[in-house]
């Protein structure tokens, strides 16, 4: 490495040095390329399409194409009022927030606990087996998971109901898929089952970064297993936990780290549990996209994005205040 730098120096000494910034850039070009690539990606896919937000305030019809976003008439906050005036709106907001909060509160600690538990397993075969089994569901698509949920929970042909009935534990099959009151539990439970193992990997990586000397020192001081977890492992994971937490809060309305609020509500939701399963995103899809009302759908999503931005800013602020660690 040193040799390379000297070679570079000798090389660049021959060139007249005018702009140090350009020189530095040239020196770092292979690293800068990665950054530029990432920025280009953001520009093209995240910033460039932002002009589409205009649509939310315009009487836009898709047949006018992209040009129509600029040429169609302004309607101000008409769609905002239409959305807030909808009879479902309070229910939608409640469901979105409750499902997101439940997922955050219940599903966030699970991978942390799982990572600590896997870390404490001494038998490496068992350790690897548990890890593989727990993260495999991550690769199954939600459509398939929902199909599987019918196979397990259906009142007519579900495995669980059949088993419980034949054991005589229940007299009536459990309406897990259709009872509105079981919907929130169903989505949180299935999301944890599907994603917890996946997130465990990040926390295991954080644990792997903890200096083994610390454990030895703690042991010398007479700390038992639980004490070691509490005083060594957890502090070692702190920054990883906080970063994941902030990201989860930022994407909370989409379901946080376990995600998939939309897929779950769309696929597991039905006309019987709709009062608990309809969320803002499914509403945007049904009342907006499916009916071809793109301007309306844009407004619904815009409102949700504004809420998410507020959430991420405030969670970062609080995290910095409380722990000194933040995203920026």
């Amino acid at each position: 490495m040193k040799e390379a730098i000297t070679v570079n120096r000798i090389n660049s000494a021959a060139v007249p040095t005018q702009d140090t910034l350009a020189r530095r850039f040239r020196k770092q070009i292979s690293l800068q390329t990665f950054v530029l690539l990432g920025m280009a990606f953001l520009l093209v896919f995240s910033f460039a399409p932002l002009f589409g937000i205009l649509m939310a305030f315009k009487d836009y019809s898709i047949s006018t194409g992209i040009k129509g976003i600029f040429t169609s008439e302004w309607v101000g906050l008409r769609y905002f009022h239409e959305m807030t005036g909808d009879y479902m709106f309070p229910t939608l907001v409640r469901n979105t927030i409750v499902i997101s909060l439940l997922k955050l509160v219940i599903s966030f600690p699970v991978p942390i606990l799982l990572a600590i538990m896997i870390n404490e397993v001494r038998n490496s075969i068992l350790k690897r087996f548990v890890q593989t089994v727990s993260y495999l569901p991550h690769f199954i698509s939600w459509v398939v998971v929902v199909g599987m949920s019918y196979a397990f929970f259906s009142t007519e042909y579900g495995l669980l109901n059949n088993a419980l009935m034949s054991l005589g534990l229940i007299g009536q099959p459990l309406d897990i898929l259709t009872d509105p009151n079981s919907f929130w539990g169903l989505v949180v439970g299935s999301a944890i089952w599907k994603e917890a193992g996946w997130w465990t990997i990040i926390f295991l990586a954080a644990i792997a970064g903890v200096d083994p000397m610390l454990y030895e020192a703690a042991e010398m001081d007479g700390a038992g297993r639980l004490k070691r977890i509490w005083h060594v492992t957890l502090p070692g994971m702190k920054s990883a936990i906080i970063v994941v937490l902030i990201l989860s809060i930022g994407s909370m309305l989409g379901g946080g780290m376990v995600g998939s609020n939309f897929e779950q509500s769309m696929l597991l939701g039905n006309s019987i549990n709709s009062e608990k399963s309809q969320i803002i995103q499914t509403y945007a899809f049904n009342a907006g996209l499916a009916e071809g009302r793109f301007a309306f759908a844009t407004m619904i999503d815009l409102v949700q994005s504004v809420i998410s931005v507020i959430l991420i800013l405030s969670s970062n602020f609080i995290a910095r205040r409380v722990s000194g660690t933040g995203l920026y």
Partner: protein
């Protein structure tokens, strides 16, 4: 020196990667239109060659998107498509919708294929920016393609042009000529014949008789589900007919009234709620999203009755052939309030999109599919080989089982007839003297009155009425389960009233007002 040499290619590689990613990202972004135009400029040379060197060369291949998730034919194969290609020089490359949002999204992205067959997006596709109007194409390429006045009245878009001619519509003359054999399809209920026999074939004259029938099934076969409803479409149909309350607009003494405002509609909901409370219908039935979930229960012998169509019995018997169950239809009329009105203005239409690479071949294909010869070929099969006219020249006699879906799929018959075939051609094709479906169909057709004007009261895309109508349809979808699954009659009645009150708040009255003015307007078209 060595290291420097190594470094350079790596820089080169990363920049190369970066630029290719960037370029591909950019083209991906506005890909919809650019790759499309690329496509359509590339292929015309192809077709120009075809038409240039005479009609006997390679057939033109056009892309057709079918906006029906259940469409069983995934490619253009079988005797019938081959014959159509032979006659028209057109081959179709088929894409079947994976869900009902796909076409709206394709419209939005501008990424439409040559032809689109849809029943749900007429209002959107009948747009001069998306589709060619047939008037212009006919004038230019097929001056001998004539569309009769009734089809014109039914298919004219708000800008006065015709963008498609829908299938499944017939003129008064066609209906009159085929009234004994063109049997309408309505909602029906099919039941297991063996069990009905074991119960001693109880008489079925009233809705109370029906309730009693379900009760005796439940008593005698406690493991069976007395009534399974076809999940997405037909779950209320049979009851709507017998209570005389259609779910959309009803003509009451010349005025249009929405179903939610008819007292009979509430009675129907309460009756259906009663069926649930008595344990005849399972709650989970209302959560099923695909037809198969319901049908499986019938094939496996768990269900006694299946609410579907007037052709249900024969279709179920055929599909359940492994288990050997035989189904028969229940009588259509169980109440003096019975009412069925045919408001048909056609169902599916093929749109020739502005992305079409060969509009001439496309309109000529539609002309062929609309002709009597083309309709019969696509719908029934090859004359003399697959069917012959009956001795009285009223209906086709098939050499294969025309109702058997596996045979239809193998020959590629029937479904392509649904692109442009008239109602009477379609219906006479399913006429088989003496079957249970035929008996029920004749019963239903005799009970049905016609009113195409109602079918034309359809709000324009993006109009305020369209928004209200969609909102109300969504309301019913979301709320009706509360009525149907209420635990007491009072609760059901309350839930229903809440639903109607909500609909009123959403502008149901305004929608009815608009519907009536539109009704007056379109009624004139039919009087001419």
């Amino acid at each position: 020196m060595n290291k420097k040499a190594l470094k350079k290619p790596s820089i080169l590689a990363t920049t190369l990667l970066a630029t290719t990613l960037l370029v591909s990202a950019c083209s991906g972004n506005n890909g919809g239109s650019s790759s499309n135009t690329g496509n359509s400029t590339a292929t015309p040379t192809n077709t120009a060659e075809n038409t240039g060197s005479g009609s006997t060369t390679e057939p033109v291949t056009l892309d057709l998107f079918v906006d029906q998730t259940w469409w069983p034919l995934k490619d253009w194969s079988g005797q019938v498509p081959e014959e159509i290609t032979k006659r028209t020089g057109v081959k179709l490359n088929i894409t079947v919708a994976t869900d009902d949002k796909q076409l709206p999204l394709m419209i939005a992205s501008g990424d439409l294929p040559d032809l689109v067959a849809t029943a749900a997006q007429h209002a959107r596709m009948a747009d001069s920016k998306l589709s060619f109007d047939w008037n212009g194409l006919i004038e230019k390429y097929a001056p001998d393609f004539k569309i009769d006045s009734e089809n014109v009245a039914v298919n004219t878009a708000s800008d006065g042009k015709i963008y498609t001619v829908r299938n499944n519509f017939s003129t008064k003359e066609e209906w009159a000529a085929n009234k004994e054999t063109a049997l309408l399809m309505g909602a029906g209920i099919s039941v297991r014949e063996d069990i009905l026999n074991e119960l001693g074939n109880p008489q079925l004259k009233t809705l109370d008789d029906l309730t009693n029938l379900f009760q005796s099934v439940k008593d005698k076969y406690p493991d069976m589900i007395p009534l399974v409803l076809n999940p997405p479409n037909w779950h209320r149909g049979y009851f709507e007919q017998n209570f005389g309350a259609a779910s959309g607009l009803n003509d009451v003494d010349g005025k249009l009234v929405h179903g939610l405002h008819l007292p009979a509609n509430k009675e129907m909901y309460l009756y259906m709620n009663g069926l649930y409370r008595k344990g005849f219908i399972k709650a989970e039935n209302y959560a099923y999203k695909s037809e198969d979930q319901g049908k499986q229960l019938m094939y496996s012998g768990k269900g006694f009755a299946y609410a579907w169509t007037t052709q249900g019995s024969d279709r179920l018997t055929l599909d359940a052939k492994d288990s050997g169950y035989k189904f028969i239809n229940l009588p259509m009329k169980l109440s003096d309030n019975y009412k069925s009105v045919n408001t048909g203005v056609g169902w599916q239409g093929v749109y020739i999109t502005k992305n079409n690479k060969d509009p001439e071949a496309s309109i000529k294909l539609m002309q062929f599919l609309r002709s009597e010869e083309g309709q019969r070929l696509a719908m029934w099969g090859i004359e003399g080989k697959n069917w012959n006219m009956s001795a009285d020249n009223k209906y086709p006699e098939f050499t294969y089982n025309h109702l058997d879906d596996s045979q239809r799929k193998e020959k590629g018959v029937y479904y392509w007839g649904l692109l442009a075939g008239s109602a009477t051609t379609e219906l006479t094709g399913s006429f088989v003297p003496g079957t249970d479906s035929t008996k029920t169909g004749q019963e239903y057709t005799a009970l049905t009155t016609f009113n195409s004007a109602i079918g034309l009261v359809v709000p324009g895309a993006d109009s305020q009425e369209q928004v209200i109508k969609n909102n109300i349809d969504n309301l019913v979808k979301n709320e009706e389960a509360k009525v149907l699954l209420a635990t007491s009659e009072e609760a059901a009645s309350k839930a229903y009233d809440t639903m109607v009150a909500q609909a009123d708040k959403m502008g149901l009255g305004k929608y009815e007002e608009w519907a009536n003015s539109k009704y007056e307007e379109v009624k004139k078209n039919f009087q001419q």
